[in-house]
């Protein structure tokens, strides 16, 4: 049943998953590193570039609010099931 609370939980989990991807240990090993790819100008419009850019921006923006949201959700679920 997709309710607002379920949607919120699902999106919280997805954002957590995106933020957990480690830059050094994982992304660069898979060739998805954000810095050392040959950032040639012909690369800018490919889908892989867009997705990786999206991942990096999500990580930068939501790192701190996600800590707060996670703590709140954990407390909420502890108290109310």
């Amino acid at each position: 049943m997709l309710t607002l609370w379920n949607l919120f939980e699902a999106s919280l989990l997805c954002l957590n998953a995106v933020c957990v991807l480690h830059e050094e240990r994982f992304m660069q090993k898979m060739g998805w590193g954000a810095n050392n790819r040959n950032q040639g100008f012909e690369d800018q419009s490919s889908m892989k570039y867009q997705v990786l850019n999206l991942v990096r921006s999500i990580r930068t923006v939501t790192r701190i609010p996600l800590i707060i949201l996670n703590i709140l959700t954990i407390i909420f679920k502890l108290l109310l099931g």
Binding site: M1, L2, T3, L4, W5, N6, L7, S45, M47, Q50, V51, L54
Partner: protein, 372 residues
């Protein structure tokens, strides 16, 4: 509406005449007899000489003011500027009780409250205007009855409509009330509310209803809207598809499926499960047709340039030049193909979602039939 541009003008110009609030408030003018007592009682309560009393900070009551004349209606906002001074220094506590009773204090308190409310309203609208583009929203709700009727008929039966291009009015699309092709948010929002109520009704007929169901249905439908919008926006961003379609347009077009859902639910009420599926299939086809015709112009009109559009013989400058896509770097033919795929994606998910959101509400037998 309550904003007074001259609020701070001339505030330092010493004692000025103060207009009574009760003149211009909607509560009506007070009787002239009572209005003249305050100046007398002030001078009895406090041993200060004559007007102005020190705590009034220069406000001078004019006993010759004409309290009987009705004040002009637009005047109230302007009066906020005439009473700049509030009681800055409170008199001794023993005198507060008698002070509160006097109409002048009540008037000043009410005016103070009004001013606070006006400031609060201003602050709220300013903050809200940062998140939600209110002027853009106003465009989407500028509809009239004729437009709504024609649009609903168009959604159910789009096969005879010839002209699908939205008329532009100096580089901005005309309001929905002047052009039946323009997207609006009125029908989606009304459809959403109607869907929630109809869902509650159908649950009630099957004896599955409880008041929590209304909120569950409402939040579920809202969650689907949000999820769908996020899905479309992510698809557009990841595939790097630049279109002329704005977010609110996309919201409007995805909200048109509520018409489909409501029609199918009504058919389910009258004709049972068979009626539901027939109506769903027909309305889904009609909605897909409508969406393809409308979105084709908005999505593919951006493909200006010398390249061959992949979508079969489409002239590159169809209709009017789209002012939103003039700043492109390189519109490519693969971009057109992506746009076509996105259009098909939208046209297919709409019927699926409308089925998904209604099938659990359908009764298995006709619940309202004449031959009971």
């Amino acid at each position: 509406m309550n904003f007074n541009a001259s609020r701070n003008v001339g505030q330092a110009s010493g004692p000025r005449k103060a207009k009574r609030v009760s003149d211009v408030s909607v509560m009506g003018a007070p009787s002239p007899v009572q209005a003249f007592t305050p100046p007398g009682t002030f001078e009895q309560g406090y041993a200060q000489a004559g007007p102005p009393p020190p705590y009034q900070q220069g406000i001078q009551l004019d006993p010759n003011q004409d309290f009987g004349s009705p004040a002009p209606a637009p005047a109230p906002p302007g009066n906020f500027g005439y009473m700049p001074g509030y009681p800055q220094t409170m008199p001794t506590p023993a005198n507060i009780g008698s002070m509160i009773q006097q109409p002048i204090i009540q008037d000043m308190a009410m005016q103070y409250g009004n001013q606070l409310a006006a400031q609060g309203r201003e602050a709220v609208s300013r903050e809200l205007g940062r998140f939600v583009p209110v002027s853009r929203l106003r465009y989407y709700f500028a509809v009239d009855t004729r437009y709504v009727l024609r649009k609903l008929i168009l959604i159910i039966f789009p096969y005879t409509h010839k002209e699908w291009m939205v008329k532009y009015d100096q580089e901005s699309p005309v309001q929905p009330r002047y052009d039946v092709n323009a997207p609006d948010l009125y029908i989606p929002s009304m459809g959403y509310v109607t869907y929630v109520l109809l869902a509650g009704f159908m649950l009630g007929i099957q004896h599955r209803f409880s008041p929590e169901q209304i909120s569950i249905q409402a939040s579920s439908a809202l969650a689907y809207i949000i999820f769908e919008m996020v899905l479309y926006l992510m698809t557009l961003y990841i595939t790097n598809t630049t279109t002329a379609l704005k977010t609110l347009d996309l919201l409007a077009f995805s909200g048109y499926k509520y018409t489909t859902m409501i029609a199918s639910l009504l058919a389910a009420l009258l004709l049972g499960s068979m009626g539901y599926y027939c109506s769903l299939i027909y309305c889904s086809l009609a909605l897909s047709f409508f969406l393809v015709k409308t979105l084709r112009l908005q999505l593919l009109a951006g493909s200006q340039g010398p390249e061959q559009p992949a979508y079969g013989g489409y002239p590159s400058n169809y209709g009017n030049p789209n002012p939103y896509t003039d700043n492109w770097a390189k519109p490519s033919s693969s971009g057109t193909k992506r746009r076509v795929y996105f259009l098909l994606f939208v046209a297919i998910t709409q019927p699926l979602l409308s089925w998904w959101l209604t099938y659990h509400l359908v009764p298995s037998a006709p619940s309202i039939s004449p031959a009971r």
